[in-house]
Amino acid sequence: MKKYLLLLIAVAFSFYGFSQETFPVNGVKDNRANAVAITNATIHVNATNVVQNGTMLIRNGKIEAVGAGIAIPAGYTAINMNGTHVYPSFIDLYSSYGIPRPERRGRGGFGGAEQIQSETKGAYNGNEAIKSEYNAYSEFTKDEKEGAALIKNGFGAVLSQRMDGLARGTSTFVTLGKGSDNEVTLNEKAANHFSFDKGSSRQSYPGSAMGYIALLRQTYEDAKWYDAQSPKPFKDMSLDAWNANRNLPQIFDASGWLTALRADKVGDEFGVQYVIKGGGDEYQRMAEVKKMNASMIIPVNFPAAYDVDDPWDAQRVSLSDMKHWELAPANLSYLEKNGINFTITSFNNSNFLENLRKSVEYGLSKEAALNALTVNPAKLIKMDGRIGTLEKGKVANFIVTSGDVFDADTKMYENWIQGDKNIISDRNTPDYAGKYDLNVEGKSYALTVSGDPGSHSAEIAVNDSTKTAVTLKIEGQVVNVNFKPEGADFTYRLSGWINSDGFKGQGLNAKGSWISWTASKTANVQRDNKKKGNESKETPSLGDIIYPFTAYGSKELPKQQTILIKNATVWTNESDGVLQNTDVLLKDGKIAKIGKNLSDKADRVIDATGKHVTAGVIDEHSHLGASAINDVATNSSMVRIGDVVTSEDVGVYRALAGGVTALQILHGSANPIGGQSALIKLRWGQAPEEMKIAGADGYIKFALGENVKRSRSTNSIRYPLTRMGVEQVYVDAFTNGREYEKEWKAYNALSSKEKAKTTAPRKDLVNETMVEILNGKRFISCHSYVQSEINMLMKVAEQFGFKINTFTHILEGYKVADIMAEHGVGASTFSDWWNYKWEVRYAIPYNAALMHRAGVVTAVNSDSEETIRRLNQEAGKIVKYGGVTEEEALKMVTLNPATLLHLNNRMGSIKVGKDADVVVWTENPLSVYTKADKTIVDGIVYFDLEKDLEHRAYIDQERARLIEKMKGVKKSGGRFARRGSAEQVEFHCEDVLGEESDLAKY
């Protein structure tokens, strides 16, 4: 396609015929009508209305008439477009055409001094990432170079935004025409834009996906509050703009289906239906994407094939990346089949047309494709009255092609924008292909000219097998031919011109003398007129979509069954203790019966002779299954892990293989007050929202010690830097929470009459959370190590009349276990971790035993995607260190964490009526020698040693199939990139997005 770009010569018929009346003229007025009649073309008025042998009249950049048999008025330049197709030019809603690039600076975070305040000058929002005051029109200026790339792909108009900030402000809708900025601008404020990328903002907060969501939610609240007041309490021009632009189409830039769902959820909360720019992976979760009910802007950037020749290197390419390579071209066809309204963007896509046509080859209908590029985008920004079809009165934006625009071999000839022609490849290039009798110095040579018009090549046939190479150049009306006659030691160098029956001219012979030559056409070359694109290519056969879209995902999710586990050693965690030779019946997702010789009907009977059955392992402290873990505000209580749960983390499957059935995804420990937790069950394969435990209590992470006082960041300026400051952060936060509550109570006590006259207090997401904690509606799990600060937090809580729910890690809990027992706080600790940083120097593996015996509900946690796979063994260590009984030790990873998470009425023991979250172990569950044989959640077998072998076989087969397919691509000259892929990043307590701290992460 590159050469077409080079060919793209902006040839205008005239100077711009409709220059503005209000502008000064330097010279003599030269306005021309630019009246043109396109004739004899196949005109696609829109996707369904096609006019054969049609005529289209355009004048002053607008369409005047379209149809068959239209008389051409006098004065209109008639252009015979016989054999061509004419379509509306495409519209791209995702572009930054003509907008200066924002300066992108590095991210703040661990290590450097934090930027707490906004440094934007002027009366704008307190957070740099809120740039709602920005209007793309203020900086827009047409850019011919950028425009050329869009034009050659068929685009005639774009919605141009500045891609910077969470709230990006408004975009301008412009054509790619050559007129002035005034002429090309169709709507200077066409839409309002949002994203999950804070862009050039250097402000520390927000630093994560969940912070972006929290800031957007807070800003929606702030805007509402600000809007309700007159006069305003202060000037915030960002909020002014936010409110002023809320009736424009709202477009959200998401990068894939997962972030799209998150954006849609934010919109739902505030009554906004975003148009969502997707990522091209929507097919992976079609059902959820459909439920959003959002119109979408979809890229067709498909991954290139991976280098898989070397099987050692090929191991680095993950199954999910290979499958995406195969399935990405089918994405649009899935969207169409599911009735989703979408448009297509060419942003950052150097293979746009090729990939668009590939999408059609993979099942997207041509009608849907054309709509997605014309009418749909026009409608989404309410510009369909002016653009998007070839109807009277619309902007004369159209493309001229050699055939069906979605066929692979079709050439894009011209792209007219506002009535001005842009030539992409010359429609009128003469075809000189044929056989010629070349006569030079009385000798005749059989010259054959072949190739496409504009790129001819030539050769001379000596006999049936021997050919002489010929250099042939045809430029306009002049010709140049060089060749070395067979057996000769010289080259004829001939110049000449186009003649009626071929070429004629003069040239130089061996002696350097001027001679005459002719080449007379003797025959036309028989071209293969059958257009390849018109053959109905079969849609390629594709692999399965698996859930989740990664190794160990399944085409069909496992179903809930009635399961009878026979003859097991059952560790009940109840007063019954450990029962021998006992059966357990699981029905409707609950534990239905426990007893000997049960003979209930079951879908599945598991013979557990010699095996052990326990309640599922529960991890009070995990960071699996989330896309972000830490935000960075000192008080980050407004951020919610629940906003960023992901279903695609293979760590979840591996944890199931270790008998884990539920866990708390905790925020990290970067701040004294961290974000809100998400409690999930390991429903591997279900969508993110489905993994959450419905009805679970709300939790929040607090943290103490080295991490929150930024001990390893010598440049940190963020308050607090000492344990003294940490206490004050808490006292301050809870004091503010109480004040906030008072303010709202006073407001709520007003009569409706008084309320109407009073501005409601500002809804503050931080204080909302603090009030929840104060009122026992949200519970604290506090990362903690050293006894002094553990004691301190309990005293702060008591001062405000509530209790800390859990101290997590709590490695010096043993030193204050009596005080903890008195306060009533639980403990969730490591088994034997210690000495990886200064504050854990006095951590001892006897901690759990000491706290347990002191009357503290004690759990053993992981904070690690490795340790979570063996929490049962970590409990085994508590038997070793401190001599806790095996039954009590097992409770530390089952019932006790359930208690700490207020789920003990539903989970944590083998008791009739509790959730059927059960593990069958091959041996004593605390032993290093045991394996989880089956892990059952809600009566659904999510992990099974036998099924695991099937997964492995499937992965091997799929990989082999896809590698073979990729090799095919390489051979057939498809694109090819050397790239390995895809190791997931594990999160720990201290990880800020994108930063890997090597030591002491916990």
């Binding site: 034997d832 940083k837 000491l850 695991d948 390995g980 895809a982 997931q984 594990e986």
Partner: protein, 433 residues
């Protein structure tokens, strides 16, 4: 409570002057011959002797075998009936003694600056007062290879005992191995757009190999030159060529391992071992053919790639052993986890090995690899009396429970500060029996 009364006494004496428990006091050399009788003896060579006797004098084993026929007279008899006897576990490739609190730079002596540190010696930085040491031996790890890290050539490791007044006492064998961090042929880089790692060729690979080639060729030449200026780095390398010193190649990628081993052979390095992970499975035949023992990282690890079997790290040692490769287990990640070495072997049992074969992964195999199997690695006559007694199966965390540990026949103190703190607070809360 498991505290032996003598140890308790020692501990109490120790605590008189200080609120903070110190590292336990090293005990005196063996004064009288001792015989432990009635235990199940796991010799480390695959043999299990039920109701056996192990006798030792002056720090050396004098008898290992059935109780029947052994004359116990002249020995201090200790009844260990129902208990298990194991050779002292050996932890190779660890920073113990060099690292204390990893997040505090002042407490780290692991990583010397510079790329080529052939001359650096771990032995002299080994801190016998490290808080880690008592916790290691509490679980049966009695010998460790203190190993420097960083750079391309990190320096020389030494085999150290988990007891001693100073590094001289604690040294079992100095400068046993030189450690080389072979560069990856491919390099991993982080991509913010996909939030994942991507692989591409390592642009500096060739340059590093050229540097290493120069260094090794110069070292060979140095050894042969009649007259020369003394060069500490070249001196340190000479023992690689006569087989005295092992060269341990650290490399993650299979391709790098192959190239490094070939390089060593070409340069005339006599003994080599490889420290690597799951990619070793790709070249098991190569390792076996070339007789290269391997050190694998912690079995308690996550599989490196999404598509891997969930139990790949668990079964790595087992799979390699089945291919005929000599495997030693080591610890990766936090140094404190070094005490879990026995359980890494237990994990290998859960994933395909017999207990006695898994035992070799932490006794005989590392002893052979490090060139110390003449004295350590198994319970045999004439070998060092460096072994321990556990009340239960030492490879399982449920039952690993030492009653004695002997280093050179010295009945070392098992309890350390962690046990002291346990007792202190159990007493405070009235939990002690």
């Amino acid at each position: 409570m498991r505290l032996k009364y003598i140890q308790l006494l020692v501990m109490n004496l120790l605590l008189v002057g200080s609120m903070i428990a110190q590292v336990p006091i090293p005990v005196k050399d063996q004064e009288t011959p001792i015989a432990l009788k009635g235990g199940t003896i796991h010799t480390g060579t695959g043999q299990v002797i039920e109701n056996g006797v192990i006798a030792f004098d002056k720090g050396k084993i004098t008898y290992v075998g059935a109780a029947a026929g052994f004359n116990l007279s002249g020995y201090t008899n200790v009844d260990v009936a129902g208990q298990h006897v194991y050779p002292g576990f050996i932890l190779p490739n660890t920073a113990v003694g060099l690292e204390e609190v990893s997040s505090v730079g002042a407490m780290m002596d692991v990583n010397e600056t510079g790329d080529y540190n052939q001359n650096v010696r771990a032995q002299i930085a080994y801190n016998t007062d490290s808080e880690f040491i008592p916790t290691f031996r509490y679980n049966g790890v009695l010998i460790a290879e203190a190993t420097p890290g960083s750079g391309i050539i990190s320096g020389n490791s030494s085999v150290m005992k988990m007891e001693g007044w100073n590094w001289e006492d604690a040294t079992f064998k100095a400068d046993v191995a030189m450690h080389i961090n072979w560069p990856g042929k491919n390099r991993r880089s982080f991509d913010f757009n996909t939030f994942s790692f991507e692989y591409g060729p390592n642009p500096t690979y060739e340059k590093t190999i050229l540097e290493l080639t120069d260094i090794f060729q110069d070292a060979v030449s140095y050894g042969k030159l009649a007259s020369k200026e003394k060069n500490l780095k070249m001196e340190a390398m000479q023992s690689l060529f006569n087989g005295d010193k092992l060269m341990v190649i650290h490399a993650e990628q299979a391709k790098s391992v192959v190239e490094a081993v070939k390089f060593g052979q070409e340069m005339g390095v006599k003994r080599m071992a490889v420290a690597s992970g799951t990619e070793l499975l790709l070249i098991a035949d190569f390792l076996k053919e070339n007789n290269i023992p391997v050190i694998v990282p912690s079995a308690h690890d996550t599989p490196p790639r999404t598509d891997d079997d969930y139990d790949l790290p668990y079964k790595l040692a087992s799979l390699l052993s089945a291919k005929g490769v000599s495997v030693s287990l080591s610890n990766s990640g936090m140094l404190g986890f070094g005490r879990n070495l026995p359980f890494y072997a237990g994990t290998a049992v859960a994933h395909g090995m017999t207990k006695e074969d898994a035992l070799k992964l932490i006794t005989m195999n590392p002893a052979k690899m490090l060139g110390i199997s003449d004295r350590l690695g198994s319970l045999e006559n004439g070998k060092d009396a460096t072994f321990f007694v556990s009340k239960g199966d030492a490879l399982d965390m449920r039952s690993n429970d030492l009653s004695h540990a002997f280093i050179d026949g010295r009945d070392v103190t098992l309890d350390g500060r962690q046990q002291y703190l346990f007792k202190k607070y159990a007493d405070k809360y009235g939990q002690s029996k």
